[in-house]
Amino acid sequence: MTGTVESETELVVLPKKGGRRGPEVQQPRRPGLLKFGHWWWALPGIILVILIHYVATAVGGFFAFTDWSGIGDFAFVGLDNFVKIFQDPTKIGALGNTLFLAFASVVLSNIAGLAIALGLNRGLRSRYVLRVLFFMPVVLSPLAVSYIWKFIFDYNGPLNAVLSAVGLEELAKPWVADPTWAIWTVLIVIVWQNTGFAMVIYMAGLAAVPVEIEEAAAIDGANLWQRFWHVTLPSIRPAVAIATTLGIVNGLRVFDQIMALTAGGPAGATETLATQVYKQSFSLGNFGYGAALALLLTLIILAFALVQQRVTNGRPEES
């Protein structure tokens, strides 16, 4: 436990090599000046965060082991809720969909975002305008964006119109209502919206790569791919860590897009853990069961955040 905390400390708190160390050695202040006595300034924030994040999460974790319906009495049922989850094919399916959407969207939007960032990095006269355009979907609400795409995938929508215009009528189908294709429509919407975000993170990372190193590599005869693989990519590792961590954590919580596009259908083909938590807790009144699903989702998200932190050696505090 202690070991974990300490290495975690180094990972997170150390800002840059040669920079400030920890808070203790941070400011070699002259005594008397700037002694900080107003610690109680932090109290409202600390209390609010403990209540809303920690107490609520802990209570939710407790309900995961009960059969509470939201009103009246409840009984402690141990691991029954979890046994029920793993015996229910729709819940296993929701788990699979959640993982699929999170990973596939991260891979696709990061590749697309990195490609655009590399293409726009330098040289292009209109790169700032293009950057603004590609980033635009990021600021829109996922709900509103999903309605636009629902229309595009509609049976009478533009996608099928284009398909039949180029003579591929037999490929036209009601995409959102098709059990095989519905999940892919959700994926496309997420990727479309997240690409601009990945692009901006990568552009910021690329801006920190000194042009001299790339020029030196080019003079040494490295081709475009070698320059990217051996020079650029290692330099933007922190950007990769940030973009993928945030992408996975957000991808695991996908909710709005599903509610707008498919509402979990057809026949549960696009249910995710987040939509199941909502339906069980608030539509069906199975608070205990919903909490167990939420606990499962929480554990998955925390596990991935931790693994990601380790693998990429990401330092979220780096500036």
Partner: protein, 278 residues
């Protein structure tokens, strides 16, 4: 070395084509929203509207009951503004203490907030809902402001703490010598110096609150006070594939944030790129 060549010009053209294809969904959105009911059914999605007709927008904006769009717009503005103000005040105060305090616990408190950033909201939602219902915060604008402030405070504190650490202590020391109190130093010297941080916090948190659907669906669902996403969700649920009306309300919901984005796009992009890196 990297000069503007024919290859660069070609790259420029290719990227403009990609950008136009990328933003094609907006064409369908705008074109369809101006079509009449008859035209929506008879023309394909690619056909532009025969005339610019605002009747869909008028119909959407004047709809009442569970789908009161104007009310949703006002509620969203109130909730977002209130949350931003509280997030800036509490985030700056707490972030400042964490960055400046020499006490041992300040590092522990920092981790408390760091972990809270990744902690998913779903698990806490049920107890929060019950707690908020008990004290009468569900269905009210004040309740949402308190809730959003608590939920996004770790992000706000994390950003502020990062910015405060980068700020040298010279100004504060000089002010101390001049006899200013802690409170004076903070509100009259430090906070004004932090305006880039405040901009980042306001944009990132404001965007999350403005676009949030899950929290407001649960805490405001069924009440008269609804935010724009919830009002939009219920309104669209009551329409059956009337895409011209659906798109009119989608555009109404997009205009405020899109206008703000185009006005302050540089700050938005910097906020996302720099802010999330800390």
């Amino acid at each position: 070395m990297f000069r503007y060549t024919k290859f660069t010009a070609l790259r420029e053209v290719v990227f403009w084509i990609i950008a136009i294809a990328f933003l094609a969904p907006f064409y369908f959105l705008v074109a369809t929203s101006f079509k009449s009911d008859q035209e929506t059914l008879t023309t394909t999605a690619l056909t532009p509207p025969s005339s610019i007709d605002f009747s869909n927008f008028i119909a959407v904006l004047t709809a009442t009951g569970n789908s009161n769009v104007i009310m949703g717009l006002i509620n969203s503005i109130l909730i977002t503004t209130g949350s931003i103000l509280l997030l800036v005040l509490l985030g700056a105060l707490t972030g400042y203490v964490i960055a400046r305090s020499t006490r041992r616990w300040s590092r522990g408190v920092y981790y408390l907030f760091l972990i809270a950033i990744v902690l998913p909201t779903q698990l806490g939602t049920v107890p929060l809902y019950i707690g908020a219902r008990t004290v009468g915060l569900t269905g009210s604008i004040w309740g949402m402001i308190v809730l959003y402030t608590g939920m996004l405070l770790p992000l706000s504190i994390f950003l502020y703490a990062g910015f405060f650490r980068g700020l040298g202590t010279e100004y504060e020391e000089a002010a101390t010598i001049d006899g200013a109190s802690r409170t004076q130093i903070f509100f009259r010297i430090v906070l004004p110096l932090m305006s880039p941080a405040t901009g980042t916090v306001a944009i990132l948190c404001g965007l999350i609150v403005w676009n949030d659907f899950f929290t407001s669906l649960i805490f405001l669902g069924g009440s008269a006070n609804q935010t724009l996403p919830v009002a939009m969700y219920y309104y669209i649920g009551s329409l059956v594939s009337a895409w011209n009306k659906i798109f009119a309300i989608v555009i109404v919901s997009m205009i405020p944030i899109l206008a703000f984005y185009l006005f302050a796009q540089k700050r938005f992009i910097q906020g996302f790129a720099g802010g999330l890196k800390g």
